[in-house]
């Protein structure tokens, strides 16, 4: 059995879907945040796997960019959580509806 | 570079690990003796000749103590947190080269465990994982002093990680590689300064980066004057307030091993690693040199601890973001400009 790109894609898909399910199922905003990070990381695996498959570095480059953007997202997201928790005293997403109104 | 069999690497890694552990034990002895000398007292004298068996006695004592877990603690996290600190500290040594490839015992041997092409970043990465041990241990203790220590550790390590990483960028630019072995080999070359011919140690071309690196390294290893996470005067013991016995000893081991690793790292990056008179002919001299250089750094750590008061949290953060960060970026810009100019690419 050869280690092919399918293995990596499968792992990536599994992680992505676990992350997605977490986003959908959990109510705690911090865990949702963690799951989003997991999804981004899963996608980065896909990038790297395709890069390996096609013998280019573009995939790795974009994985790198994905990580950078995820860092920015994390900073903003955590700041939002902090600001919201300071105001609402709760990290339950359903209570953040006031934000939409 | 040679591809040596895996078992040989394992033996070497095993050796390094043991040397680190023993070195850590005698690092505590060295520290206590040095502090004693600086503070007008004797240090350990009772256990063995000149107190030389003191570290062993301490170790036995720590292992023999009762292991207390607070009732409110998160058992699993409390259990694993010290191990994280210990393991990540020791893993960092994997990429430190103690010399090149030598010919001894009838075969070619590498004086390094592995040569990653991202070796320097590897050390940084594992030192950044090490902070988990502190944060998680602090959180799991469910003690407020610990929690505050953990918060301080998190903020401090994230801030000084940046300084630590960026201060090395200049070195990477000059060496043209992230591999510690390449960086070490680059420093073996000669540099001609007019009539003087010196080794191309990066401390000469990157003095500012060296100073910033040392400051950040002290902060990264949570040593005085940046020992805020365990500031004993306000936070009792900070993150390891609730730890006792061998769990505490893991924190202790982790702290001292990371000091040794950082010292070896600094010696490799800035002081030419094993380079020195005669080191190209005799590999054991190289090992001796790198150890001496590391000990100089370790002495520096102890010296700081005996001399300086502790920073306050906001001052620590201000130092990182308002003073060190601009300086380190300045260093990168200047280094890059000089590098480009020397290649004739600027203007």
């Amino acid at each position: 059995m050869e280690l092919t790109v399918d293995h990596f894609l499968g792992l990536s898909a599994a992680l992505f879907i676990i992350g997605l399910m977490g986003v959908l199922m959990r109510r705690n905003v911090l865990i949702i945040f963690l799951c989003v990070e997991l999804m981004v990381a899963a996608v980065a695996i896909t990038f790297a796997a395709f890069a390996r498959e096609t013998n280019t570095l573009d995939g790795q480059t974009f994985a790198l960019f994905a990580i950078a953007v995820a860092a920015a997202e994390a900073a903003v997201g955590l700041a939002l959580i902090l600001a919201l928790s300071r105001r609402v005293r709760s990290v339950d997403v359903d209570e953040y509806r006031t934000l939409r109104d | 570079m040679n591809d040596q069999p895996l078992w040989l690497t394992f033996i070497f890694a095993f050796l390094i690990m043991n040397v680190l552990l023993i070195g850590m034990a005698y690092m505590t002895y060295f520290e206590r003796k040095m502090l004693g000398a600086m503070q007008d007292r004797m240090g350990p004298t009772r256990t063995g000749p000149k107190g030389l068996l003191q570290p062993i006695a301490d170790g036995i004592k720590l292992l023999g103590k009762e292991d207390l877990i607070p009732r409110a603690a998160d058992k699993w996290v409390f259990f694993f947190a010290p191990l994280i600190v210990f393991v990540t500290a020791i893993v960092g040594a994997a990429v430190i080269p103690f010399g090149g490839t030598i010919n001894a015992f009838g075969r070619d041997l590498n004086l390094y465990i592995t040569d990653l092409n991202v070796g320097a970043l590897f050390v940084l990465a594992f030192s950044s994982i090490g902070v988990y041990g502190i944060i998680l241990g602090a959180w799991a203790s469910s003690n407020r002093y610990s929690l505050l220590g953990g918060l301080r550790a998190a903020a401090q390590v994230v801030s000084y990680e940046i300084i630590l990483g960026l201060s090395l960028v200049g070195v990477f630019m000059l060496a043209g590689s992230l591999s510690l072995r390449d960086i070490m080999l680059e420093q073996q070359t000669n540099l001609e300064l007019g009539p003087l011919t010196v080794k191309n140690w990066f401390i000469l071309s990157q003095p500012l980066a060296f100073i910033l690196f040392m400051i950040a390294a002290v902060a990264e290893t949570n040593r005085a004057p940046f020992d805020l996470p365990e500031a004993e005067s306000e936070l009792v013991s900070g993150f390891h307030t609730e730890y006792s016995a061998f769990r505490f000893s893991f924190y202790f081991l982790g702290e001292y091993i990371s000091m040794i690793v950082v010292s070896l790292f600094a010696a490799t990056l800035f002081l030419g690693g094993p380079s020195g008179p005669g080191s190209s002919d005799h590999w054991y001299l190289g090992i001796l040199y790198i150890l001496i250089k590391a000990i100089v750094f370790l002495f520096f750590y102890i010296w700081l601890r005996a001399t300086l008061p502790r920073f306050r949290y906001d001052q620590l953060m201000g130092l990182a973001w308002k003073v060190l960060l601009p300086l380190v970026i300045l260093n990168i810009v200047v280094t890059a400009a000089i590098r480009l100019a020397s290649d004739g690419l600027l203007f």
């Binding site: 300071r86 | 503070q39 407020r144 918060l151 306000e234 920073f311």
Partner: protein, 426 residues
């Protein structure tokens, strides 16, 4: 009457009701109830804590590292020295004062004895007064050394405490040679000193005087210009002169704020009016100023001791005011003749009975004004024995200073107030 509960002002600072709450109302802490909507962490510092200098307990309300509320809780070392003083004979009370501020015990003895002497109308002889000055200035240095060592240790300068205790040993050696005890000296007696001065004492003190200024330069080198020390002490815990007086601060806490009140100058006792010395005053009133003031006080103390030693070296006058009826007679023959022994026995058992009245005597203790207020009803036991310990009163300003400071500043503030819990709790 509105409540003390603070309302958030427009700029986020709590605004306080202008009038005082009724008696006995108590919400969260001493003076302030913090707005409940704040997310606060309550940190209980002490009574077992490395840098609360004993058994002080400080309940802090933190927001992050910033202190919003601070409530010092004392009494863990309360031994009822005042009550004990009211149930012992006058001469028996003096040893109790050793146990109040045990890092400068001779000063406590001195204040207590001075109050008794004032009550009885006794004046100790000149030579005894000089020796009292020497001992009290030595104990000032000893106390300041403990302060400096622990204060620096709190701020993180590890070595300082060891250096300071090295020099303190020399002073304790002097005490030991003088009275046989190092810590709880019980050195002063009503009327002077009943025992002769040991022979080698003056050379020993001179040796200390020779050594100490150089050692103090070492402290200066280590701390005074140290950037981290400056960062930790400058503009921290600023007490304006107004506030210092308002809070009844005395000692370096008051003089650091620039108020010139030193009992040695303002109402000279002993022979201080004959000695040349200056009173250092701060200009800003922060931790650094108090540090400088205390450092300078040590230099001035050396100056005073030098003058006293010079004066006392040639003196051969009596050490005890034996002419007074309130002073214990010389117990020369107590070991040999029965009459002397009986007389001494009766004297000790009966004690002295000062006239009815009250007296307040205060000394400039290293920590501030150490006052003793004694009321006599004519019996041989004080009717009221009040110890006005400086650190108890000075500590009252802590909660005021700590608000808005950072967590690490609290230990600097406790250090700068210079408390000894034995003296705070009495």
């Amino acid at each position: 009457m509105s409540s003390t509960v603070a309302q958030p002002g427009t700029d986020g600072m709590p605004v306080f009701a202008e009038d005082m709450p009724p008696t006995g109302t108590y919400t969260i802490s001493d003076e302030v109830a913090i707005n409940e909507s704040e997310r606060l962490l309550t940190l209980n510092m002490g009574p077992q804590h490395p840098s609360t200098h004993g058994v002080l307990r400080v309940v802090l309300k933190l927001e992050g590292e910033v202190i919003l509320d601070c409530d010092p809780i004392i009494g863990y070392l309360h031994r009822g020295v005042e009550k004990l003083g009211e149930s012992h004979r006058y001469a028996q009370v003096v040893p109790w004062t050793d146990r109040t501020d045990y890092v400068a015990a001779p000063m406590n003895n001195l204040g207590c004895v001075m109050a008794f002497e004032k009550l009885c109308g006794v004046e100790s002889p000149e030579r005894a007064q000089y020796w009292r000055v020497i001992m009290s200035e030595l104990s000032r240095i000893a106390s300041h050394l403990v302060w400096l060592g622990t204060h620096a240790l709190d701020i993180g300068a590890l070595s300082m405490s060891l250096y300071c205790f090295r020099e303190r040993e020399l002073i304790l050696d002097v005490f030991e040679a003088f009275c046989g005890a190092r810590l709880t000296t019980n050195m002063m007696e009503i009327g002077g000193f009943s025992r002769p001065i040991p022979d080698g004492l003056i050379p020993q003190i001179r040796e200390f005087l020779r050594v100490f200024p150089d050692r103090q330069k070492e402290y200066d080198d280590l701390l005074t210009a140290n950037p981290i020390w400056l960062a930790r002490t400058k503009d921290v815990g600023v007490i304006p002169a107004e506030t210092a007086i308002d809070y009844s601060l005395t000692g370096a806490c008051l003089r650091g704020s620039g108020v010139n009140y030193d009992i040695r100058k303002a109402m000279p006792y002993l022979v201080y009016d004959r000695l040349e010395f200056d009173v250092p005053l701060g200009t800003k009133g922060d931790v650094y100023d108090r540090y400088l003031v205390r450092m300078e006080e040590m230099r001035q103390a050396i100056r005073i001791i030098t003058q006293c030693v010079d004066a006392v070296e040639r003196m051969d006058t009596p050490l005890m005011a034996y002419e007074s009826e309130y002073v214990i007679p010389p117990h020369k023959g107590t070991m040999t003749t029965a009459e002397d022994m009986q007389r001494h026995f009766v004297w000790v058992i009966k004690g002295i009975s000062p006239p009815v009245g009250e007296a307040y005597a205060a000394v400039e203790h290293p920590k501030g004004e150490n006052g003793y207020y004694v009321v006599s009803d004519g019996s041989s036991i004080p009717y009221r024995f009040r110890v006005r310990s400086p650190d108890f009163v000075n500590l009252g300003v802590l909660s005021h200073l700590a608000k808005g400071a950072m967590l690490a500043d609290v230990v600097a503030l406790i250090g700068t107030i210079d408390i000894v819990l034995g003296s705070v709790d009495r």
